[in-house]
Symmetry: D2
Subunit: 345 residues, 4 copies
């Protein structure tokens, strides 16, 4: 049994990790750490877990973690995790970090978008961007994973075949993305008060959201040229889900069916990517599951492709992909603990 | 008192007309017609109206309407209203039609997008497109109004200043629009079952939604050239609201502040258009009201303007704008019956 | 024009007062005070009010209030308003207090349930319990109103005829009540985070909620004997609404029809009370309106009456009833500013 | 591997069975039948199941079922399943029926509440009421299970210890129950249209709901005397969940702590029953899981106990309990396929 620790266990991503790992065959949770709730049981913070995970939450402690764990998931605010992670890494542990800190190839991009200095740039060279479908081989050998953001996973996988195959112009790519409210985390703010959120939606951080840079990094790699694009996040009154609508101009006229075939081929070995032959993804097709659903339309009048992609932000967009990364790193079956369908209703 | 009839009174737009007119100083409802509920009271279908509007619903009858009404709002399915409207019009009544039938200047565009033959093309020459902020002078003199669609009102007003002033390229305009579920009407379909809708969102009719043609007609008029654009509708789990995110490439680099000033100037006499100096619109800023809220951002990296606009689809997107049209046609104060703020929470 | 001030203008009840008063014929808002937002415009806190109420929020100031206002609504936390209110009252103003502080006839009951000492017991003798349908004559002459709670208004009006007419046993009265989330106010707490609230419900303060004592006071008055009952509040994932299900044992077998007739007679002069002849109230029948809807069923097997009553907690349960009280105090038409139907959808 | 068939696979309970069985170690789904969707894949009806369950739906066929299945779950409308079930039973299959048809000991009670004649009363003698916590020994030996209703499971388990131990008066028991909308099934009706449902709640079938009789049957058995009680169902705007608030008068004064201890003892061997030592159940504590959560309060003033109990109506209230029954019947570990926690957010 692989021994697993989670730092930041009581945020939504941390709690989702506990939920998913509770049915994983090859792991055992040996440490749960939480700054805010240390001393309480996990099941006091999340009563849904009574009888499933009644472990007592601890203060994060590197030495203990090194002793008790083989792998640690860190679900801490970006900027905070630098020090912890370099210490864990130095102890020889495998680390899967859910913050933005280890997702970048170029430290300048990170520092520009996150407005902080990176405390351990040397580790950036070691860390692998954990988008499993695109970086599986590197992940296998990695000891430090920068687990991708929710918006980015959904957006990148929605656009990857178009750019990898050079089918679209690299100018005028627009991603209009919508997120459920768990994406904002469990912190308190008037914006996430039920009465301000329900029956309302909004755009936010227009043209300035950090995930833009992460998407650009990966799509540029695929395209072999620098891509700058529009990414607009929206908040929608539902708990879970990222729904991205992606626009790009086709270089040549193509039918939707051709593109669907190309996507199917591109993702033919990917269990978690479902390309629609007819119909379009909806958030409840993926809610609770690790699937990425992709639908493709073409506007013939404009010679423009419109892709819609959907994931559960807490699963494929966070905890599920983190488990998938762990499975790859440890040589487990990649879908272990992630094989269930979503809950739909 | 102007005597008002409503045909299709029990759909959501019809019911919203009754709600709004119940506090209008210069009107009296004299006829409510409903195919499905004739013989019942309005307040049996909508118990919220007990004590406010207990009128008995009738079968639509042209002669009676001509006798009892000065103006008739028709909220019938497109294609159905042709005959009724030409008969009402022939009787000398004023007619405000909430379907798509009288919104077009070019019958070919209508017939292409609606896939039906127009039964009274001669009336298209008489009818005025009732987007009050853009066609007020014509509305004053009109006897037949094609009341605009919800998506279109929100999208057109969001983009109008950019095109009227020639500030953006006319290629690569993209409108990513989101609607609350009342936009789909009161008919039954599995898609609108609470359990399929709540906690989920989706795109639909990608690149094929009829409102595209209505938006293109009006923006082309403003731009003085033919505009073809992408319009993508989405369904979001809330009752009311259209939220549109509009993308266009600026011809020259501009600051958001400059654009905001231009918008403010463009709409300076428009009570119902609120241009944000800071912050961005959210659906609950306009819910229940006739306001159109507009926020403007610029992505400097891309020299692209991103406008977000929000309305209540049942008010400014249907019943409210219909009342506003009536007010203009009859010379009432334009905001009569529409002066209340939305309900926010 | 009556000059109106609101202290605590930015809470949900305060904001609802502004919404309702914006269409009141005989009032003018002359002062809005807010501790948290003084210096900002009301419409910065609630952007829905831009163009409707752009007044600047002030710090509460008794002297200014006395100068600028004829009547003041106080929507402050209980316990806080004592001092303010006695000062306003001493200045000769009319005061309508939305807290629990002036709702009680017996100071001991207040102090027992609220666990605070009452700072101005002498004013309790002056204050009138502002449940309009039951205390109209006293309200007419009052200068200080203790505006009733939301749960209490709904529960008392649902049960009043049964107790006033002596139709039920006074033991075994049970009120199972459900509230929308605005009932909890605009303060931040994890319980009201969208993601914790939506798709979930709960009971809280079982057997200990303060409104119990307010309900008991009024029902005891009507019954002419001391009533002790069960009141259980629940939180339900919707913004607005109180829905109360009331159980009482009939002294003698009766048909629902008989009881409905008695209720209709009891409330025959009450515009805002709607007794159902068939069907049952639902929250969206009253949302946004000042109506109280009541439906009556009888379980013949048990000789038990089950009443369901519904209000909008922010309107009839707070701001609407406060306006109704003001209308009575100033001799305006009682429904002024409150005549619109709810929004249903 | 036990071979499983599901008749009525595309309703919400049927789909939930597929979801749960997809992670059951000892079963294999060999037949899915659906009247409305025969010929389509399960994953076309529920796209969430693409890649998890792509079986083609068939017309229900008894002979095929007998050949292909060891156990059949029937999730058909009550009254419809009689014939099918007696045929399946005659073929020697094990049958777990999710309708109301085989839940009763006394055919007269069934026929009175369901207003239909029972087509195979002889099977009622064979069938066992599948409330696992109360009838485990009989279930072990049964070949036909009447799987309990959602309201009833929640209500009975909430009250069972009180009646089994004779702690409360059997008069004046009141159950005020609230259901999420999946409880109404997937059929179309204006009542379940998103726009009519969201932001609203209501009571329905007051004093006449069929589950009353099922609750009375079981509680009478536990109490050893005939119990007649009030049961009031409500519809609440959430997808999943039954939340029941139960009231009963204590025979003698007792502290909540004493009652909690009695409940803990009563359910000490029950994995799926969680009795709260502090705090109270909320719907999201059980959503998606097979748990029954119970909280106990005492109103000392009235000597009345107030129990709140919560389940997921589709899991412990339908599909989950059906799987639990199957596990007991086949001698599997009782929690197999049901061990995951709920999804909370």
């Amino acid at each position: 049994m692989v021994r697993v620790g989670i730092l930041g266990a009581t945020g939504y991503a941390g709690a989702e990790l506990v939920r998913l790992l509770s049915s994983h065959k090859h792991t055992e949770i040996t440490m749960l750490a939480s700054k805010s709730y240390a001393g309480q049981k996990m099941s006091e913070v999340y009563p849904s877990m009574v009888g499933v995970c009644d472990m007592v939450l601890e203060e994060a402690d590197i030495d203990k973690a090194a002793e008790k764990c083989d792998v640690v998931f860190t679900a801490l605010p970006h900027g905070v995790s630098h020090e912890v992670i370099s210490a864990l890494y130095a102890k020889g542990l495998k680390v899967i970090d859910l913050s933005g800190d280890f997702r970048y190839n170029d430290i300048k991009v990170y520092e520009e978008w996150y407005k902080v200095e990176h405390a351990c740039p040397e580790l950036l060279a070691e860390s692998v961007y954990g988008l499993c479908e695109l970086h599986r081989d590197e992940i296998k050998k990695a000891r430090l994973i920068g687990n991708p953001g929710c918006y980015t996973t959904c957006s990148i996988l929605g656009l990857a075949p178009l750019l990898a195959k050079g089918l679209v112009e690299t100018k005028n790519i627009i991603i209009d993305a919508k997120s459920g409210v768990t994406g904002a985390g469990r912190g308190l703010a008037i914006d996430y008060h039920f009465c301000e959120c329900t029956e309302s939606m909004k755009a936010y951080k227009v043209a300035t959201h950090r995930h833009t840079s992460e998407i650009e990094q990966e799509l540029s790699l695929l395209a072999g040229e620098d891509i700058v694009l529009s990414f607009t996040p929206h908040l929608v009154p539902m708990k879970r889900g990222i729904f991205a609508t992606e626009y790009a101009n086709l270089k040549q006229p193509m039918e939707a069916e051709e593109l669907i075939a190309i996507y199917k081929e591109f993702y033919k070995d990917e269990h978690f990517v479902r390309v629609y032959e007819k119909g379009l993804p909806e958030s409840n097709h993926v809610a609770g599951s690790n699937f990425v659903d992709i639908g493709i339309s073409v506007d013939k009048r404009l010679n423009r492709v419109i892709v819609v992609s959907a994931i559960d932000n807490l699963v494929k967009g966070a905890a599920g992909q983190a488990v998938q990364n762990m499975n790859i790193m440890f040589g487990f079956e990649e879908g272990e603990g992630l094989s269930h369908p979503g809950f739909y209703m």
